[in-house]
């Protein structure tokens, strides 16, 4: 891949990263906190592309009429002539540019053309629940008859507090649907600590008035009450608490499909 082509790939990659960072696209792949770094990286990649083209265009000309170069002049003039020039021209062609760089086209195409969706039920069912006991206890629930809790919060209270902090109140939570091999419906959230490669599901089982049509990966808002029923995740023996459902409603997927609260 010659330098013009590299500049093009750098420009497109930088642009794609910037685009992903400026829209919500990046939330499908990485944690929200990575956004400033992503934007910086996009800008740097574009700057590299521009600098590559800039120096490439200037290189055939003699060095000393170089203007607007960002370094000290004395330094450049010092080594500009004594053989340095011939050397550069001599191996400017001899140095082959890295051919492995062609692979950089793949993530570019994947990100721009395919924009794969956030991880869903397929990965979630293959990975054990990441629910963990939190040592610092549970916060008081907000007032009201129906309490809105994150799925991870409900699962923690149900599994490790036996619902004591839930006071028999009605719980409303949201997640995407997955169906176990025995037909049990589960509601899940993927929890993320850095990028989708480390995403892990937190699962709750649904019992009671579960939806009649179970389409995996649809997002649901469910309302229900605590139940003592539990099961073990076949993958890692983790606890999967249940929710006794009274009402379900399909919703749109949230802006950030991953739960990033539980791990700081």
């Amino acid at each position: 891949m010659n330098r013009q082509a590299q500049a093009a790939v750098l420009l497109l990659t930088g642009g794609a990263i910037l685009h992903a960072g400026l829209t919500d696209l990046y939330l499908r792949y990485v944690k929200a906190g990575l956004r400033p770094l992503l934007l910086t990286a996009g800008v740097v990649l574009i700057a590299t592309a521009i600098a590559t083209v800039w120096y490439e265009r200037r290189s055939p000309r003699p060095q000393r009429d170089g203007d607007g170069e960002r370094d000290g002049d004395g330094e450049r003039d010092g080594d500009g002539d004594g053989g340095g020039h011939a050397h550069r021209d001599g191996d400017g062609h001899a140095h082959r540019e890295p051919r492995i760089a062609w692979l950089m086209v793949l993530p570019l195409l994947a990100l721009v053309l395919v924009s794969p969706p956030a991880l869903g039920s397929y990965s979630a069912m293959r990975t054990g629940t990441a629910l963990q006991k939190q040592p610092w206890g549970f916060a008081e629930l907000p007032k009201g008859d129906t309490v809105r809790l994150s799925l991870v919060d409900y699962a923690g209270r149900a599994a490790y507090d036996h619902g004591r902090s839930l006071d028999d109140r009605r719980i409303r939570t949201a997640g995407f649907l997955a169906v176990g091999s025995d037909g049990t419906p589960y509601l899940m959230r993927m929890a993320l600590s850095c990028c989708a490669a480390d995403a892990q599901p937190v699962k709750i089982g649904l019992t009671g008035r579960t939806p009649t049509v179970l389409r995996p990966d649809t997002w649901l808002e469910v309302t229900g009450t605590y139940t003592g029923k539990q099961t073990k995740d076949p993958v890692n023996d983790g606890i999967i608490p249940f929710l006794n459902v009274t009402e379900t409603k399909p919703i749109k997927a949230p802006k950030d499909p991953y739960d990033e609260s539980w791990n700081g």
Binding site: M1, G66, D79, P117, R126, Q132, D198, D237
Partner: protein, 343 residues
């Protein structure tokens, strides 16, 4: 000019060993690459529909998501590391490192290992920086200690470990001690046994005679494209494992002490998770002992598929093939011992 030649050994005479993947290429190819690139991108756009159709199976979708996620997550850190390495290569004179590090390599190794604590990032950033240090005349033993320790003992990673293991604060200490021990031991091992001709950085063009601006941007461009290509290889391997290999076979290994340690060490290599996130994955492997999970945390930042590819890119294949197994073995041994003492 003389400084250029002195600080870049083995540029002219490095024989094509395939690791650079660009040896023996017909010259005509290079002139066509913008054309090839345009055709590739056009083909991608035209075939968008069929490609999407083929990729709609859940296993392919989750493969693509993980693949893109690893790249998107690693790219900012790669860019950071590449910029830092370009700064070292262009603006920091070699004499600085001669003064900053102890003269004797045996002492320089632990100093460089501790210095790893100040590079806040994951392993993608440390590889190009270590490469720049070697090219800048730092003794390889010290640069390698830095390479291994930086991703494991910086404050961000240790904080993440503390958050992921709220009930076991000794995990943080164990991770710090074991990682630093392995890094220093590998540095000393290289100092005793390493041979300079194993370390063969692939052919790099020199830009120093073009002025500092051109040198800086040339270095950034070359390293992003080169290491980025290898990063893609690593990301593909990691995505394949995550999407295809079922997780429940792990449960089989959890019962036996030796097996469980080895299983998690191999898993760390295969999964290639960023060192800032691996503690959370380790925390969820609840059926394994703390020592086995410590092994996961020590091996992962030092050697995994993505890192192996990037080390090949920076130091040459002959180096990576020797360095990776040695690091793996030492990391498993040391973390088992530290785990037995501290956990």
């Amino acid at each position: 000019m003389t400084t250029t030649n002195a600080t870049r050994p083995a540029v002219e005479d490095s024989e094509p060993d395939g690791t650079t993947a660009d040896a023996g290429e017909p010259k005509g190819w290079q002139f066509n690459s913008p054309l090839v690139l345009t055709m590739l991108l056009l083909a991608g756009v035209v075939l968008q529909g069929p490609i999407r159709g083929a990729l709609s199976a859940p296993v392919m979708q989750s493969w693509m998501t993980v693949f893109v996620a690893v790249i998107v997550q690693a790219l900012p850190f790669l860019v950071l590391g590449v910029m830092l390495s370009a700064v070292i290569a262009v603006f920091v004179p070699p004499s600085f490192f001669a003064r900053a590090l102890p003269k004797r390599p045996a002492l320089a190794v632990p100093v460089a290992g501790m210095a790893g604590a100040v590079l806040p990032g994951c392993e993608c950033a440390s590889v190009p920086v270590a490469g720049a240090l070697v090219r800048r005349g730092v003794t390889p033993a010290a640069a390698l200690a830095f390479l291994l320790s930086a991703p494991a003992i910086n404050p961000i990673v240790l904080t993440a470990t503390a958050v992921a293991f709220p009930g076991d604060p000794e995990m943080v200490l164990a991770r710090f001690v074991a990682s630093l021990l392995v890094a220093c031991a590998m540095g000393w091992l290289w100092h005793r046994l390493g041979r300079a001709d194993w370390l063969r950085p692939p052919d790099r063009p020199s830009w120093e005679d073009l002025g500092k601006g051109a040198a800086f941007w040339g270095s950034v461009r070359h390293d992003v494209m080169h290491a980025g290509g290898f990063l893609v290889v690593g990301a593909m391997a990691a995505a394949t494992l995550k999407a295809v290999v079922p997780a429940d076979w792990l449960g089989l290994a959890a019962d036996n002490l030796v097996f469980s340690i080895l299983a998690l060490a191999v898993l760390a290599v295969l999964l290639s998770i960023c060192s800032e996130a691996d503690a959370f994955v380790a925390a969820s492997l609840t059926q394994f002992s703390l020592t086995a999970r410590l092994t996961f945390l020590v091996v992962g930042p030092m050697i995994d598929l993505k890192l192996f590819a990037m080390q090949t890119a920076t130091f040459g294949r002959g180096f990576a093939l020797r360095f990776a197994p040695a690091t793996f073995t030492l990391a498993v041994l040391v973390s088992s011992l530290v785990g037995a003492v501290l956990l």
